[in-house]
Amino acid sequence: MKRILLSLLITVSLLTAFACQPGGSGGGDKVRVGVFMSLTGSTANFGISSVNGIKMAAEEVNTAGGINGKQVELLVQDDRSDASEAATIVTKFVTQDQVHAVLGEVASSRSIAAAPIAQNAKIPMLTPSSTNPDVTKKGDFIFRSCFIDPVQGAAIAQFAARTLGAKRAAIMVDRKNDYSTGLEKVINEVFTRLGGQIVATQSFQEGDQDFNAQLTSLKGSNPEVIFVPGYYNDVGLIAKQARDKGITVPLVGGDGWDSVQLYAIGGSALNGSYFSNHYSPYDTDPKVQKFVNDYKARYNTIPDALAATAYDAAHIMFDAIKRANSLDGTAIRNALAATKSFPGVTGDVTFNENRDAVKPIVMIEIKDGGTYAVRERVQVEGAAMPTMASSSASPSASTSVSPTAASTPAAATPAAGAKASPSPTRSATP
């Protein structure tokens, strides 16, 4: 008898506990957004930057009166850089917390683990910075607001072919690295399609020290530009040795170059070379400068690319909820899918039919003394769209080269604030 009473008591108290959890279905006066990020563990830096960006976006919306009069409530959870933990958190978000939307993650592996859960619950999920193409293939409620690697490769190739007007290009590729070979394939395809010719391809392996033999071969084929889709420490050495060999043409690469270490290694050998990135804090665009200043005022550091993409992702989601004028998952999803030219700090965002963002990619020019300047915002044109990125480019993607190209060189030292964040997006995509 006593035992029955006890168990009854426990049951009742548990039920009460659940009843106290935030509101029933949709009737609340708050917009609940679940955020899962790695705040501890191997990629803690990525998660912390991202959450900073998202929190700032939420506060901006709330001080402006919220979304259609409703305040935004962020539920931030740490997945400890672990994929199964990410899945558990998102399960809790959709069942217990009954969030209206989910934001996360940086690492593709964790986004892929969490996506099916959001998909089944029909809660829209938006990842700010997972670049693996598979993430958004998990279902039609899963969106991504950054570029995927094939698009980046296309932007690099298009920039070389159109802006630099190169006809002959050579490639130096890291044969054992998926990131590098993936970019190489796309660059090769797109550059050729845009009327260029790949005159030589040479390879190396990460950690190689001596590139003289490869560079001599490249020099013999007289390229006008050399693509180096690799990581900053190899790129720095390649640049140095290329200049020693008397090769003066520009080197062009991807976000793998993004590190303050790059110029420390390559020095003036890198002057006049270009790489692509999500955004640059030294962009003179007033929108970007306002974001950078606000972020600096709040967190006392220069926002890296992850903070910027997360900030944009949060605003895109809030904007969709506002346009949906409803907290229903499907309504928000449809509004999200209809996002057109959303003006973010990382560029104007439109989703294509794969729910991947179509937006300009920033080409950064390295200038004397290691200063960076935004050379161009490349909008990948329809003809340049690589076959593997999307079956057919969305209409807005077919706009020609850089409609927003404000090629105003904004010089500023990267050493000033950009701390060593070795290309976060790339390395977070295991």
Binding site: A213, L237, K245, V260, Y263, I265
Partner: protein
């Protein structure tokens, strides 16, 4: 044609560095019949000594990123302010690094190899592997595991050659210094009393001792000489390829060892020839075939040589006396 010529220059320049390291292997083997596996790591220490010396002397351009010229001058440890990058600085850095590594070589010999010299050759070999691991892992603790980037010791320039090829001043300096060191070594070994003693020790240690040669001193001298050459190679590599890390000696050391065997281990001109051959072959393979086979080619050559000419290209066939 000009590309081929260029690759040849690359190869000879790389080969000269292998030769310098191979000399250390071959000399130690000559006197002790010991394969000094720690030799590649002495080369690594040499490169790091060069790095710290260059920074200590305040060579302009050392860690110059984000730092003004004034800041760099202030960093110079010498009262006269920062040193301009020049050949003199490069030579000074190299000679100091050589001296430090010569001392390191003597210390290694004194405390690791001499105590086990009376035991079997296998004991010494295993000790050598132990010293090698100690230097590699100790290097990661002391220098840090992340790669360092060597400052520019002198202004590099490209000099146009006939037929469209060009040669970098760094390559010329590597070649000239390597050649000078090899000639110097040849003079030491064949024209001095100590050199004669070295040859005597390598011929027969017991008899040399009986003839009144202080063999311990000669062996220590051999280690000092070999280690100094390895340090020179370390600094020269760092000038050509400005990245150094504590594990850089492993593969280069192995290849230099192959070069020594290729030329005939124990034979000094053989080590030079072997180094050049490995360097040129490797560069040609990377330039005309694929870099994937780069490391395999040195060892493939080793196997061929061992099959067809076990004593190496210039090695003399010596009958083991029973």
């Amino acid at each position: 044609m000009s590309t081929f010529l260029q690759q040849l220059i690359n190869g000879v320049s790389l080969g000269a560095i292998y030769s310098l390291i191979a000399l250390g292997y071959t000399m130690v083997y000559g006197v002790l019949k010991l394969i000094n596996f720690a030799h590649g790591d002495v080369y690594m220490v040499g490169a790091f000594m060069g790095y710290y010396l260059a920074n200590g002397l305040g060579v302009r351009g050392a860690q110059a990123v984000g730092m003004s010229a004034d800041g760099l001058i202030a960093r110079g440890l010498l009262g006269s302010g920062a040193m301009e990058p020049s050949l003199i600085t490069a030579l000074a850095v190299m000679l100091l690094a050589m001296a430090i590594c010569a001392a390191l070589g003597v210390i290694i010999e004194r405390f690791a190899y001499r105590p086990v010299r009376k035991y079997s050759r296998l004991t010494a070999l295993i000790t050598a592997i132990g010293v090698s691991l100690l230097l590699e892992n100790g290097g990661q603790v002391v220098f840090g595991a992340d790669p360092k980037f060597f400052p520019e010791l002198f202004k590099k320039r490209n000099i146009e050659l006939f037929g469209g090829a060009s040669i970098n001043s760094a390559d010329i300096i590597v070649l000239v210094i390597a050649l000078a060191l090899m000639i110097g070594l040849q003079l030491v070994v064949f024209r001095t009393k100590t050199g004669r003693a070295m040859r005597a020790v390598s011929f027969n240690l017991q008899s040399a001792k009986l003839m009144g040669i202080n063999t311990d001193r000669i062996i220590a001298f051999t280690f000092a000489l070999g280690s100094a050459l390895a340090a020179a190679a370390g600094v020269l590599v760092a000038i050509r390829i400005p990245r150094i890390d504590p594990l850089m000696g492993i593969l280069v050391g192995l290849k230099a060892f192959v070069a020594a065997v290729l030329g005939g281990i124990g034979n000094i001109p053989g080590a030079m020839l072997g180094g050049l051959l490995i360097g040129v072959t490797e560069t040609m393979v990377v330039g005309y075939l694929s870099p994937t086979y780069k490391d395999a080619v040195a060892f493939a050559i080793l196997i061929l040589i061992l099959l067809f000419r076990p004593s190496g290209l210039l090695g003399s066939v010596s009958q083991e006396k029973v």
